[in-house]
């Protein structure tokens, strides 16, 4: 790790609650950073749910959270780690 102020790595985290998801795909389509993709697994209701395929690209913008009609996903900023 460098001793500069900037640290590399994801700025945000995306949290998914698969049991609320209805697999509409809004979050996957409209995430501006291409973080999300459908997983191969189903939830209890039989929907394919999203997963963070490229978590390192997440900015924590929470657009996924704003789009999700089922309140099943949200983004948050990572707590800053000061080196």
């Amino acid at each position: 790790m460098s001793d500069g102020k900037k640290t590399r790595g994801p700025r945000g985290t995306v949290t998914i609650n698969p049991e609320l998801c209805k697999g509409c795909g809004f979050c996957i389509e409209f995430c501006p950073s291409g973080v999300l993709a459908f997983s191969d697994t189903f939830n209890d209701k039989g929907y394919h749910t999203p997963q963070a395929a490229r978590p390192e690209a997440c900015t924590g913008c929470d657009l996924c959270g704003a789009y999700c009609p089922d309140f099943a996903i949200f983004g948050s900023l990572k707590e800053k780690v000061v080196a």
């Binding site: 009609p69 089922d70 309140f71 996903i73």
Partner: protein, 283 residues
């Protein structure tokens, strides 16, 4: 780090998952509303939500605010009473196109005429979802519904034009694709005195989308993205919608006029002078 969705505190989580279909825009509209309430600066116990009947009528039941699920078409009269009896409240009506403009059409017109201190958010999905996909006053020409199986031939309402003509002081339209702008408009509408109106074009994939071969909710959202243009301040006469046509979005009207309560207080103060006391001290 907290792993709880920050919107949960505004929702009755014991009622989740909600009944709305996969890809329905109602949940997205609720998200926009929650963000607007968060940003509007009013304490949560001073914001009340009133809904009518229909899929959009469920909004009131899912929000953890003082909320009222009223009879069909009547959220505006309920909201009017609520506001007049509790002038400190910010009262927001969230309901559908059928509820607000067919059954409740007259109430909307008169609330706008009086400039009643309410915010009306109409989730317009062009159909009656809960009752089986019938034609509403906003169903576009040529669209198929369960009561227009050969295509609609009735002229639909242009809601922003209707709202402006009837007297609303704030008029905006967005789609559920425009989450940021919709949240901002709902916030501005809540902060406005008098009747503010926000139309949210929303997908109903189950009934409207399926009958009209528009695909699932995601396909409808992509169509909103492709077919919409943002023209703030557009002349509302020109923002009517065609089947699969252009959707003009934006903030169309933001004007100042004395509201119902302003006029009430002014008139009573003039008539009764020092004998008039403002109800609950709200001017």
């Amino acid at each position: 780090m907290s792993r709880v969705n920050p919107v949960n505190q505004y929702l009755r989580m014991d009622r989740m998952p909600h009944i709305w279909c996969s890809g329905c825009g109602l949940g997205t509209t609720v998200n926009c509303f929650i963000r607007a309430v968060k940003d509007c600066g009013f304490p949560l116990d001073q914001v009340a939500v009133v809904s009518g009947i229909g899929c959009a009528g469920r909004v009131a039941g899912y929000l953890k605010l003082d909320s009222f699920h009223t009879t069909h078409g009547r959220p505006i009269p309920f909201a009017t009473g609520l506001k007049l009896a509790n002038p400190k409240l910010k009262v927001v009506v969230i309901s559908g196109d059928g509820d607000l403009f067919a059954i409740g059409g007259n109430h909307f017109i008169h609330a706008a005429r009086r400039n009643m201190d309410l915010t009306v958010v109409c989730v317009n999905n062009f159909t009656y979802g809960m009752t089986g996909g019938q034609l509403t006053p906003t169903t576009p020409i040529d669209a198929i519904s369960s009561t227009s199986p050969y295509g609609n031939f009735e002229e639909p309402f242009n809601l922003p034009f209707l709202a402006e003509s009837a007297g609303a002081v704030y008029v905006a339209r967005w789609t559920t694709y425009h989450v940021k702008q919709a949240a901002k408009s709902i916030r501005e509408a809540i902060q406005k005195n008098g009747l503010s109106f926000v139309e949210i074009i929303s997908p109903c994939p189950t009934l409207y989308g399926r009958r009209n071969k528009l695909g699932d909710g995601l396909a409808m959202m992509k169509a909103f993205k492709e077919n919409s243009s943002i023209v703030n301040g557009a002349d509302t006469r020109g923002v009517g919608m065609d089947f699969k046509g252009k959707i003009v979005c934006g903030k169309f009207i933001d004007r100042e006029k004395p509201s119902f309560l302003d006029m009430y207080h002014a008139t009573m103060s003039e008539r009764f002078g020092p004998f008039y006391e403002c109800y609950e001290g709200v001017q």
